[in-house]
């Protein structure tokens, strides 16, 4: 059986890339391959978690081994390892957020993201055996950067929806949100490219002109060194008179997350940049209708299962929310479409099939 190294800058439960890398390894391991995960900084190590420095020993110059490299930001140490490896090499591209979104904020995000974009070209031209992308949008970027079309395949990221389906929704959250208010939900880390400012504008329009008994729930961890971004959002909400109706929820458990989805009337998204957007799939699976600003990979992920707009106009989003909330037939139709789209394209079983099919020339 084949020795397979899964390499990523970060691998942790609870984020999209971490879930993808861990599940990928679990599937390959179940098929009898020897799998280990490599990263330069672990949040929590498991039995087969190793430091990047141990990668050479694991691969042992075996030309039949496989290295699966997850690309999400600039990471010189990881790219160097990929270039040096004499084994078969696979790139999984999750997209890199353009650095411009982080301009003016503290930290070195701009540099890391710009480096990630530059390294995309290096990866595309590194003559790897296979290029996997999380979405059509990402694949387009890879091909534009020079990756050979015939070695490219789209495989959506594995996710934790099976666990969400099994877990009992948190009773406390369910109780507290069951107060007759219309709950608008967004799930995603608190970072500038996630378009929170458009969401707050749209919510203010909705709250003032459509439904005073409504709240916007923003679930997602605050990005490292971006507390000033959160402060700006709070100021914006305050200025628009909706601060008491916007909830900023950091770091939730799966039980709590499920409860937020269960109490949501609509899932709203106004991100300016998404490589795939797992929360959209969570909303589809948990039958929450979607209203979204359709940039980058969002239209590919949502398809016809939501109201997707080409502009983040607050009144357009607010009117869409109102239509979905008030018109039961529209709501039912969108949730049914979402459920069907999830079952056809995005279940872990379906993704496993796509992944193994793409990997077949390299590993039986």
């Amino acid at each position: 059986m084949t020795r397979i190294a899964i390499v990523s800058l970060t691998i942790s439960h609870g984020d999209a890339v971490g879930n993808d890398a861990l599940e990928m390894g679990r599937i390959l391991s179940a098929r009898g391959h020897t799998v280990a995960w490599f990263s330069s900084h672990w949040v929590k190590k498991g039995e087969h978690s190793r430091d990047l420095a141990e990668l050479d020993d694991f691969l042992a110059d075996d030309p039949e081994a496989i290295l699966i490299y997850h690309h999400l930001v600039g990471w010189t140490a990881g790219l160097d390892q990929l270039r040096r490896a004499v084994c078969r090499r696979v790139v999984k591209y999750h997209n890199v957020t353009p650095g411009r979104f982080f301009a003016g904020f503290p930290g070195d995000k701009v540099r890391i993201c710009q480096l990630g974009r530059e390294q995309l070209r290096d990866l595309a031209k590194a003559d790897c055996d296979l290029y996997l992308s999380a979405s059509q949008y990402n694949q387009g970027e890879l091909i534009d950067a020079g990756a050979p079309v015939e070695r490219c395949a789209v495989v959506p990221p594995f996710h934790h929806i099976d666990r969400l389906n099994q877990v009992q929704a948190d009773a406390d959250v369910l109780r507290r949100l069951d107060d007759g208010f219309t709950n608008l939900l967004f799930v995603g880390r608190r970072a500038p490219h996630k378009g929170h400012r458009f969401l707050i504008d749209a919510f203010a329009a909705y709250h003032e002109h459509y439904d005073r008994n409504s709240r916007l729930v923003l679930v997602g961890r605050e990005e490292h060194k971006l507390s000033c971004y959160s402060n700006r959002l709070r100021e914006q909400a305050s200025r628009l008179g909706v601060i008491d109706n916007v909830l900023f929820i950091d770091g939730v458990t799966e039980a709590e997350l499920k409860a937020y989805y269960q109490r949501a009337s609509v899932f709203v998204l106004a991100s300016e940049h998404e490589g795939f957007c797992v929360p959209l799939v969570e909303a589809m699976a948990l039958q929450v209708p979607i209203v979204a600003y359709g940039t980058t990979a969002v239209p590919h992920t949502v398809g016809d299962a939501g109201l997707v707009w080409e502009e983040p106009d607050p009144f357009l989003l607010a009117q869409s929310i109102d239509t979905v909330v008030r018109d039961a037939a529209v709501r039912r139709s969108l949730t049914e479409r979402g459920r069907r789209r999830y079952q056809q394209l995005f279940t872990n079983q379906r993704i496993e099939r796509d992944f193994l099919h793409a990997l077949r020339p390299l590993a039986a």
């Binding site: 003032e208 929820i249 950091d250 109201l307 106009d313 357009l316 009117q319 037939a329 529209v330 969108l334």
Partner: protein, 160 residues
């Protein structure tokens, strides 16, 4: 739209309708005076938000944990981790007490939060009761007024 099933939903038609309605609402909103802030939300306690922040604080409360040091690799990382261990060991007399303090303070904050939330819930319930009682009094006053003066005089005589 009632009775529509999913195959009946024409997304393009629906979006065109929404676009028109949004445009009309935008015009109405521009013409209208902005509403004053909602009085009922003057005092509101976002317990879910507070709880999520307390959870993060609980994760950070314990000092004496080795840093992740993501910028260092290889030998440099090993050296940096060893140095961190030494620093943590030397400052243990401070960090242990600080951790204890953090945990106690967080427990107290959690208790205060729960109590505040309970008070807020009671106040909201009492406000609702007051509103219902006021509505009942208004209805009774209307009924009293609707009874004619002679009839009322008769009733008053009987009562006395």
């Amino acid at each position: 739209m009632s009775g529509m099933n999913q195959s009946d939903l024409d997304i393009d038609e629906l979006k065109a309708r929404i676009r028109e309605q949004a445009s009309a609402m935008r015009e109405r909103a521009a013409a209208a005076t902005p509403l004053p802030p909602d009085g009922s939300s003057v005092w509101s306690f976002n317990w879910l938000e507070v709880k999520s922040r307390l959870k993060i604080a609980a994760g950070l409360a314990q000092l004496g944990v080795l840093p992740l040091l993501p910028r260092f690799h290889g030998v440099k990382r090993q050296l940096a981790l060893a140095a961190s261990r030494v620093v943590l060991y030397v400052t243990r007399f401070l960090t242990t007490r600080q951790s204890d303090f953090n945990v106690c303070a967080l427990d107290a904050l959690r208790g205060i939060g729960e109590a505040l939330h309970a008070v807020e819930t009671r106040v909201v319930q009492q406000q609702e009761q007051i509103r219902l009682l006021e509505a009942t009094i208004s209805q009774l006053q209307l009924r009293v007024a609707s009874i004619g003066t002679p009839r009322r005089g008769e009733l008053e005589r009987k009562a006395s």
